[in-house]
């Protein structure tokens, strides 16, 4: 989605958030809102990165812990933790991030394809890397990060 937006405008607005010591970005057009932590209801028998569901103004919204999704070490939630609600074509999902830092405009041509080695994160989740002044922003490929969770157990009736 980030790519399509970038073709139209020379600059794109992104929301910058933090996970561990790295900064990540998603296009502002997919972000519905940023919420403070509210109580999450655990959903049993789902992958561990799915923290559960919340009541987002009357809509039951699943919550994904991005740290766990990327296999990073788990950190207890604190006051700076935020839930970024992103809206993809078929569903809305909340992403737990360490902190939501910024909304900035980045020039489209500053986004480069990801370098070969990006560290621990599986590279399929990343659509590119943007260098803005001295900051390095990892652009997320949300479609990949948020592939729908199918039935996780097979012991059906």
């Amino acid at each position: 989605m980030a790519e399509t937006a970038s073709e139209i405008s020379k600059e794109m607005k992104v929301i910058v958030f933090q996970l561990m010591d790295k900064e990540y970005a998603v296009g502002v057009d997919v972000v519905e809102s940023i919420e403070k932590l509210i109580s999450i209801t655990r959903v049993p028998k789902t992958p561990s990165y799915i923290k559960g569901v919340i009541n987002l103004r009357g809509v039951v919204t699943p919550i994904v812990d991005l740290r766990e999704r990327f296999g990073m070490e788990v950190k207890p939630l604190d006051d700076s933790s935020r839930i970024i609600i992103v809206s993809l074509e078929e569903f809305e999902v909340g992403l737990i991030v360490d902190a939501a830092n910024d909304v900035i405009d980045i020039p489209v041509d500053s986004i480069e394809p990801q370098p070969e080695v990006v560290g621990s994160i599986e590279s399929e989740f990343i659509s590119g890397v943007a260098k803005v002044s001295k900051r390095l922003l990892v652009m997320l490929n949300l479609e990949k990060v948020l592939q729908p969770v199918k039935r996780v157990t097979t012991d059906e009736i």
Binding site: T46, R57, P62, P148
Partner: protein
């Protein structure tokens, strides 16, 4: 508007597109209506032309004699209707310039159209309000201010009423669909020379609007099928020692999170050998498969596409399209269709439909720190049992519940929660059933009974094990709804 006028002057027999489509503004610039009336063509035309949106009216008188036979099944239906009613029959063709407005105006006096999404938003926002109401209530009870208390109490009452209205707004009785069936059955019976009595039970059963819209056509198919293939001719029936008049029962009722619509006839039933033979001929099943099929599975073969056991093709049915469409429509709605048939005694077509949105009664229970909801419809009763009463039968914990052995399921184990409290002396158990099988669900404690609004977990979490949905509680918390059907094997 046009319909209103026409209905005043006579009986509308048929319209093309259908009345529903017209009401949904689902037509181009022209629609056709067949009307039985005593009025003159010119006066009728003048009346219809008074509707400002109508551009042109063409009236063609049709009589029972002049109508060409066998044009299409529906045409010939009109034919018989006309000959039965010796009145002048006219076909009015109106071409509204702005058809949309014409139809809107027609309904304006009674109903308005609201996009269902807007209702959803309204309800979601209202729920937020209810949560704040709860907060206000607790503040008021702390402050002990009589004025505040009174206001909050009033607000509680008003918002309770409001909640009911909003929740029921999307539901309409299946009556709206069932209403047109008696007439259809009468006409069909006449066409087929059969005597048929249609019984409708549970027309007041409420269904979500979205489901109502879709269910009409499949039901028409099923009824036509029952009339044509199911019910025998009066002579045949008498020969079999059945009453001359065949009975078709259309039944709708709620059960659990589903609505059942059943169509039962006391006709010939399904000839299993012939179905099987046809299925083999068409390659729907192989010989080996055929040997293992149960009676019910054989009966359900008639739902597969391109299948027809009717020896001759009639106008009504037997073209081999229809039942498979019925099946796919119902499945696309998330429902199922099952057939029970006893040869010589009749068939029962059961359509099970989910409630896309429905208010259900649940029992709220505690599991660890979370609250879960168990649909009341699957609960037989709740019990508190002594741990010493739990027996072991082949690695399966069971209890003796009113004389029957009921297997126990520890929900905490199923949901992989920690701290299953084995040690406690008393255990809270919810006895649930699926069909005639039962199971006891061990929970931490009961909270109580409540009416809740079913919500889906969304497209991201597709089919979580043993969870059929979620709901939002009065305090804004999400509670998951336990799918008892998945827990009972």
């Amino acid at each position: 508007m046009v319909f209103e006028i026409l209905e005043k002057s006579g009986e509308i027999v048929k319209s093309k597109p259908s009345v529903e489509q017209l009401e949904n503004e689902d037509f181009d610039e022209v629609f056709t209506v067949v009307l039985i009336t005593k009025e003159e063509a010119s006066s009728l035309e003048a009346k219809v032309m008074k509707v400002s949106e109508v551009d042109r009216v063409d009236i063609h008188p049709v009589t029972g004699v002049s109508l060409p036979k066998g044009q299409s099944p529906s045409e010939s239906m009109d034919d018989s209707a006309v000959s039965a009613a010796p009145k002048e029959n006219r076909k009015a063709e109106a071409a509204p310039q702005k058809g949309r407005r014409a139809v809107n105006a027609h309904n304006a006096n009674k109903t308005i159209r609201v996009n269902i999404d807007r209702l959803d938003i309204l309800m979601n926002l209202f729920e937020e309000l209810v949560i704040d109401r709860g907060r206000l209530q607790s503040i008021a009870s702390e402050l002990h201010n009589p004025d505040l208390n009174e206001t909050v109490e009033r607000m509680t009452r008003v918002s309770g009423d409001l909640q009911n209205i909003i929740l029921n707004m999307r539901m309409i009785p299946v009556e709206t669909v069932f209403n047109r069936f008696p007439k259809m059955v009468r006409q069909l019976a006449r066409d087929l020379d059969k005597k048929i009595n249609l019984e409708i039970i549970g027309a007041e059963t409420e269904l979500d609007r979205t489901v109502i819209d879709e269910i009409g056509d499949p039901l028409v198919h099923l009824i036509r099928n029952a009339l044509d293939h199911g019910i025998e001719s009066p002579a045949e029936r008498l020969a079999k020692g059945k009453p001359e008049e065949g009975t078709v029962t259309l039944r709708a009722y709620h059960s659990g999170n589903h609505v059942f619509i059943e169509l039962e006839d006391d006709g010939a039933g399904i000839d299993k050998d012939r179905v099987l033979q046809k299925a083999l001929e068409r390659g729907v099943v192989t010989e080996e498969m055929a040997a293992t099929l149960t009676d019910r599975q054989i009966a359900e073969l008639i739902l597969s596409s391109g299948f027809s056991t009717a020896e001759k093709i009639t106008d009504v049915s037997g073209r081999g399209v229809g039942l498979d469409v019925v099946k796919s429509t119902i499945e696309s709605l998330g429902g199922y269709i099952t057939i029970d048939s006893k040869e010589g005694q009749g068939s029962l077509f059961q359509v099970q439909l989910p409630l896309t949105l429905s208010i259900i009664s649940v029992m709220l229970v505690n599991l660890d720190k979370d609250i879960y909801a168990i649909p009341l419809s699957s609960i037989i009763e709740t019990a508190i049992i002594q741990t010493s009463d739990i027996l072991n039968a082949h690695n399966q914990k069971v209890i003796d519940f009113r004389g029957s052995i009921v297997p126990l399921v520890n929900l905490k184990d199923i949901f992989e929660m920690e701290g299953a409290k084995e040690e406690e002396e008393l255990q809270s158990v919810v006895i649930v059933r699926k069909g005639d099988r039962m199971a006891g669900l061990i929970v931490d404690s009961f909270i109580g009974q409540q009416e809740i609004v079913l919500k889906s977990l969304g497209n991201y979490l597709q089919s979580v094990f043993a969870i059929s949905g979620a709901t939002i509680l009065g305090n804004g918390q999400v509670a998951l709804i336990v799918d008892c059907n998945a827990l009972i094997k």
